[in-house]
Amino acid sequence: MNGWMGRIVKFDLGSMTQETVAVGDAIRRQYLGGRGLGVKLYSELCSSSIDPLADDNALIFMTGPLTGTLMTSGRYQVISRSPLTGTICDSSSGGNFGAALKGAGIDGLIIRGRAAKPVYLSVHDGQVEAHDASAFWGLDTQRTQKGIQAEAGSKTSVACIGPAGETRVIFAAIMNDKDRAAGRGGMGAIMGSKNLKAIAAGGSQPVAIADPEGYKTMAARLDRIVDKNPVTGKSLQVLGTSVLVNIINAHGMFPTENFRRGVFNDAEGTSGEKIAETLLQRQSSCYKCPIGCGRTTRTRDKNGEGPEYETVWAFGAHLGISDLTAITEANYACNELGLDTITMGSTLGCAMELSETGAWKESLRWGEAGKLRDWVTDTAYRRGIGAELALGSKRLAAKYGRPELAMQVKGMEIPAYDPRGAQGMALSYATSNRGGCHMRAYMIAPEILGHPVFLDRFSTAGKAELVALFQDVSSVVDSAVLCRFLQFAVGISTFTEMLRVVTGLDFSDEELMTIGRRIYTLERLFNNRAGFGRGDDTLPPRFFNEEFQTGSSRHRLVRLEEMLDDYYAVRGWDADGQPLPRTLAELGL
């Protein structure tokens, strides 16, 4: 088999047994791998009402046919039902782990059950072994990785949880290859609930390539395209993602103090330019990636990876904090403890507003940079105020009687782009299958960055079609599995060709779009069965009722209704957002 390894292992932590899972050619072709195949397999194993932290929940690690090949191909996806949202969730991470899984001879791993004592799994030559992990339980993710590599081999790639996953914080992350994170949705909590501390993978099994000549030409082509493109060839390498700070702030939509304002006075001090001038030691890259958006940084006392744009916002403007060192060290803490920075930061902002309004008697104040690291650490260990923060913003705000102060959609916190500044982004947040996520359909690209075309961000015209298009293409990229940043340089036809050259199957652009649509619709079906409907395709009231008074997104409100019906029509869903029978028939669902 070309591209895929043709082997998926299911491991039961209760009985400590493994078996291979047969996936037919047709399914592989219809769902590719990664997110798509993961969601497909998950939906067959688990119902939409399963408790994510229960023993019988499945946690799926999945790669795709392009993992380990061409470019930006070290990524992997983690799929399960999210303990944070209750929706289906796939969490994506970079680094090498995806390629390591394939080198170890498998496409993916399905984990069920619960180990009696902490274990880690090692994957070699297609086989999975469980090992005692009691020595590592309680260690942070950096020490865990080093420790397990000492046992399993220095060349192995380790994906693990930290204390936050062990205490099952519902937004705990899975960390791999030092500081890469499968951050959103609380996948780390699921690992913790299974007493699974880590997975180590390694090996040198090659990925078979169907068309070696075509592969060489494609690789050369990709090198050229990515290098020539100003975003992938220059900007991301030199300035990283935080170059967006000044851009989004200049557009008046840099969410400040829990989305109450759109302009942060100290944005410059937390920008990519500032990081490059002060903290940056060098850029870092994932497996086979020439883009190199990673930031290896150091503060006076500590070093680590990041911060990325989302983190710089979540611990920065969102909290009224302009101390870049504090932000960066909070980021390091999240990496070490295994916590999603976006949800962590957003929850703190919600907590600050709850505190300010008197709804919560705790006193957390805007701009209190000094306490940032403590709050993060306490959350990971669920102690003191951290026990409350570990609820995430939705449950926290509901608990204190002000649910509208949680800036979340379906339970997942909205990231660093205020939807009042970009109508398409508003629709994207509202209709994302895993909750408030900016990556399902990154409308910032056309609406702000002008890529690949420039659109008026305040117009609702044509946004529905575009959101659906982006969601579908992104589903394909997440299933191949490749890095989304490639999308700044290449379009769908190139992904089609990459798949053809590696797998030897005669994919077409239209087929790829159908695959994307199928995956997105399958996710939607799962969510529908879990009880999500039109009422959940919405945003917190702030975005419909409160206008900014200053900045270039002032006096704007989200006009979701104008776009939502259009969106359902484009998707072939009914007025409640349920896929129509003919849509399901078209997609073979």
Partner: protein
């Protein structure tokens, strides 16, 4: 947009000293080692303004923003008082004294 403001200021006898603020971001800022400069002028097109800015900083940076044919690169963002010139008259958009122009070379992220 800014013209009503300017008229009011003028009627009160204030002179905004005819300066246009030009702010550099992203790769340009790193290259020029300057965050912002001021250009004297009123009613200049963005194209002219960019030329003057190059003269003033003594460095060429237009290739970060424009292609060989002096058109905007995909991804280049130029804001006049927060509004994207692509929604105005592009490089022919005119700026007035007191306006603030922000220049961003193509960038991206997530």
């Amino acid at each position: 947009m800014a013209s009503r403001c300017r008229e009011r200021w003028r009627s009160w006898g204030f002179n905004l000293a005819g300066k246009i603020a030009v702010k550099f971001y992203g790769l340009m800022r790193l290259r020029l080692r300057t965050a912002a400069i001021e250009i004297s002028g009123d009613g200049l097109t963005i194209m002219t303004l960019l030329g003057l800015a190059e003269e003033k900083t003594g460095q060429s940076f237009l290739d970060e923003l424009l292609d060989k044919d002096k058109g905007l690169l995909t991804g280049t963002i130029i804001l006049v008082n927060g509004e994207n010139i692509r929604l105005g008259q592009g490089l022919q958009t005119r700026v007035e004294a007191g306006d603030s122009v922000a220049l961003f070379s193509p960038a991206g992220g997530g």
